[in-house]
Symmetry: C2
Subunit: 206 residues, 2 copies
DNA sequence: TTATCCCTCACCCGAAACAGTGATTCTGGC
DNA sequence: GCCAGAATCACTGTTTCGGGTGAGGGATAA
């Protein structure tokens, strides 16, 4: 018997999953929560085997909650749940100890497979989510990492500051800012500010 | 008795709403569809009073479907349904004849109120959706429309072309490109290319 | 017929960005 | 201790950007 708990701020989704699972004889409904706080509240005096966790919730989001759950209750498996397949979020969830990820438009079969797989210690990705993750990995690998300083300066450029302004703002020589800027262009393989910012926004580097 | 039909590609959502509505004595379940095509198929030989329609679906999206439904079956009221409150989509849905818009995280009461309101010819917005629409209206008013030429040049700037390069590409004087560029900065109220591109990407102007 | 907006082109000028090169310091890892 | 990389700073050019200003043609609507 697998005890399933769900955290989602959409009553409709909770209802839907509840409805899909209620006739499964190997699945027991542990309970539900509409936000991170009440989920944590539940686990103070109760437990579950698998937690279906929405990734985007008001207040603390799924990624944060996932991390806490994993630290406090390492025996509870977390299954990410989301409407969209955002590679970045999927990756973050996995880094924070989730055991899998499925989309809300998954079929009943897929949902059950995911629960069973995760409960037995496995990892499950719904097809689209897996591909999305791969896509993300690919695109993020193709882009070399930026140093903290470079990220900082990239943000300031995106906000419209010029080199002299940035220099004054973070107490550095304008020459230094200029160097960092050139490195940014080189690292991201673009030839001017327009491209740089477009790439930065698209790749969520800001 | 209000006959309710639902179009959504998420089985979970359909299940959830079905579950919420099944004990309502004034509500009858007309049926369901997972995409635009099967929805249209249903209405060839059947009908309903209110259609709950997901806005983002594979293939034809809710906005398109809403338009078609409104043309073919003007007596059927459409109630937009979405996870997020995207002002732009809400507006588009309304322009295409929707009677209201609710979020999937609405309560059962809100859902019922929406159905009753829409069925009697009214317009319903769930609180957040209404505000989102207002926000959108405000922000889109604050942003003056760009002329076709300006959009074209904005795109080319975002792709990394310089003024002389753009001029050569579209057979115009570099001075002209420069003028357009300055107009773009003025219209969007930003002070340099970095800000311009960031805004353009964020506002989906490309 | 004005008025308005878009598109086009033109010039001046200062500021900023970009290219190339090179140097020093200070880390962290092997 | 040595090496790699990040971070800092410096100088010299050329190119591009951005501010300001103005002007003429064309299309459209009041």
């Amino acid at each position: 018997m697998i005890c399933v708990f769900i955290v989602d701020d959409h009553p409709v989704v909770i209802e839907g999953i509840h409805s899909l699972l209620q006739n499964e004889k190997n699945i027991e409904w542990a309970g539900q929560a509409a936000n991170a706080a009440s989920c944590l509240g539940f686990f103070v005096n109760n437990t579950a085997d698998v937690v279906l966790m929405d990734i985007s919730m008001p207040g603390m989001d799924g990624v944060e909650l996932c991390k806490i759950m994993n630290e406090k209750y390492p025996g509870v498996f977390v299954l990410g749940l989301s409407t969209f397949n955002q590679g970045l979020y999927i990756k973050k969830m996995m880094e924070n100890g989730a055991s899998g990820y499925i989309l809300k438009n998954s079929s009943k079969e897929e949902l059950l497979t995911a629960i069973y797989t995760v409960n037995s210690g496995g990892t499950f990705f719904s097809g689209e989510a897996g591909e999305s993750l791969k896509e993300y990995e690919k695109s993020s690998k193709a882009q070399p990492e930026l140093s903290p300083r470079e990220k900082e300066i990239l943000c300031l450029i995106a906000e419209g500051y010029t080199n002299p302004q940035i220099a004054e703002k973070i107490f550095l020589s304008p020459f230094t800012i200029d160097s960092h800027r050139k490195n940014l262009l080189a690292k991201l393989n673009v030839k001017n500010t327009a491209c740089l910012i477009r790439l930065a926004v698209e790749k969520n580097l800001l």
